[in-house]
Symmetry: C2
Subunit: 337 residues, 2 copies
DNA sequence: CTGTTAGCGCCTTCAA
DNA sequence: TTGAAGGCGCTAACAG
């Protein structure tokens, strides 16, 4: 059955096509195509004949060829950055699973300096992707236009840019900012502060703003402790400043950084709970015994569903007005506050 | 310039093809194709004409159509599981970046009960993938044959199955097992043990075996403390047993679980360093102040390169004998041992 | 170096 | 419901 050249297991991937199946089943190629197309018009009888022949020959529909005629592939770009933050990983995994569950194939595109999101999305446009999901820094707006022109939906997660045809899913940052203040005060904290990356992320900024705005409303002062990046190391460094300033209640805009804050406090001999800490995201480490971090759960599964809903509805209605979905947050109380 | 129906920004993705570019540039479609094919035979002059026209029209090569003729796409399947373990995330990110750097597109496929690796790899075969990288549980062997038939290279990471045409990259588990013993003894531990998932992972098992074999060689006893899964929770639970058994030096086959062990010890009031702990992988958390875990670094970047080397060399030599590459490990000494 | 000619594997009208 | 025919966008093989 193998091609030629009897070197044991010669290659030359002799692929079987719909033509082969058609011949074997005694039907036309169109019939084969229909048999493998959901709700196409085929009799059960031919369908079975086709399936039978297909199985015997080891036939698989070539989805790439299919997308050529369909003008749309099953691929969805997943543009991500900061995967060292465990929350990002969770998001990624949930998105990937949710996509696969709906028969999409996620193309993973980690961003960095060399490969920024714009370049990367540009690349995606070569594959007739069904959509693009962005968790990294928001790309420059010109890329949105390109996508719009090619009819490729984009969904941004926790980003701020308001742009025609670009949908977004954002977590309820005002809620977390406000609640953080209230809870810190409830636990007895007097001198509050918030740690957040300087203009690094939309959600980060919004949480910090909400926190401060709530404080202002209550007539208390609450400085922003700026850091370069919202990560463990910078959280750790911020802990010192915190102590210098006499803060006893702090909101770290994500857990990843909050872990650093807690460790920094512990290192300075203040791991006794005298400084209350609230994080955000409820990453696995937040419930680890070393931290037991009070935090806001931001359910990735819900978020993923929201994202995909936006994606699919935009596919059917490309010209719809841009929408924003809010992911609810829930305060999880633990030892740290 | 837009199609019809003047509803402001009407859609109907009017894609521009090589035909359009050819016409605009006054050349043939083949010329256009060549202009976009690395080291194809085109004069600089036509190439420029083509680029010019392409830019004006906003042309992009349709890679899907290209793969149709090439019979091979740029896609590489990334089959992964256990992404809650931060080391897995690191692997994933490095693999993805390494692939993209070489102009492959990683398709992310997280596995689980519903979507086991076999099913998932089967799906991939519809896309003429250039290869498959497996970090999850090894798939059943029949899938290897299917891939071999279709000429799709597979590389397994830290898996044991020895199968024709299937290459593997494995970390130097014997080395870590041996070194763990020696280092624990050096730091003064007397009663050793190793914690490992029961038949859950190849590397896990191999590390444990090496550990015990070294102990036997030194004439000391070293029980295996079995757990269901090598994760934080089970590490935490294992800590109790450890103390019951009077162990004072333990090798946890991965860091993720080791963090649980350390937390379990701390919770039992034995976070004083009286029980030495060594982990494996050097995940970010291992260097967090709460843990300062002595561990083995297993460089993801090296591993990723090894994987891709195997992948690409098998593409050119599909019938080569299966190879195994070893990833070196390095002991990183920290507070925990 | 360039254009022409055939497909790659599939899907979608269109008649029957 | 079925088959025939044409085309999706691109590239490889072959002249010139």
């Amino acid at each position: 059955m193998r091609p030629k050249e009897g070197n044991g297991l010669s290659r030359e991937p002799r692929r079987v096509t719909s033509f082969d199946v058609a011949r074997a089943a005694g039907v036309s190629r169109a019939a084969v195509s229909r048999a493998f197309t959901p709700d196409a018009s085929v009799s059960e009888k031919t369908r079975q004949k086709v399936y039978q022949a297909a199985k015997e020959l080891g036939y698989r529909v070539n989805y790439l060829a299919r997308s050529l005629t369909n003008k749309r592939s099953d691929f969805v770009g997943l543009v991500a950055a900061g995967l060292d933050n465990p929350y990002r990983t969770q998001q990624l995994e949930h998105l990937a699973r949710a996509l696969i569950a709906r028969n999409y194939r996620p193309i993973l595109l980690p961003t960095s300096k060399e490969a920024d999101s714009a370049t990367v999305i540009g690349q995606l446009l070569h594959y007739s992707v069904s959509g693009v999901i962005v968790t990294s820094d928001a790309p420059p707006s010109h890329i949105f236009e390109e996508c719009a022109v090619e009819g490729v939906p984009i969904v941004l997660i926790n980003k701020g840019e308001d742009f025609p045809f670009v949908d977004r899913v954002v977590s309820d940052d005002r809620m977390s900012g406000y609640t953080a203040v209230d809870h810190l005060i409830e636990t007895g904290a007097k001198r509050l502060a918030v740690i957040a990356g300087k203009a690094v992320s939309y959600s980060s900024r919004r949480r910090a703003e909400a926190f401060q705005s709530r404080c202002t409303g209550l007539g208390i002062e609450a400085p922003l402790i700026p850091v370069a990046i919202n990560d463990y190391r910078h959280g750790h460094e911020a802990a010192e400043k915190l102590l210098d300033m006499g803060i006893d209640g702090v909101f770290s805009v994500n857990d990843y950084m909050a872990c650093g804050v807690l460790d920094g406090l512990a290192k300075a001999g203040r791991g006794d709970g005298s400084v209350k800490v609230i994080g955000h995201d409820d990453i696995p480490q937040a419930s680890w015994i070393a931290y037991e971090l009070t935090t806001f759960q931001q359910p990735c599964d819900v978020q993923a569903e929201q994202v995909i809903d936006l994606l699919t509805s935009r596919m059917s209605e490309p010209d719809a007005v841009a929408r924003v979905e809010f992911t609810p947050v829930t305060l999880i109380k633990r030892r740290s506050a």
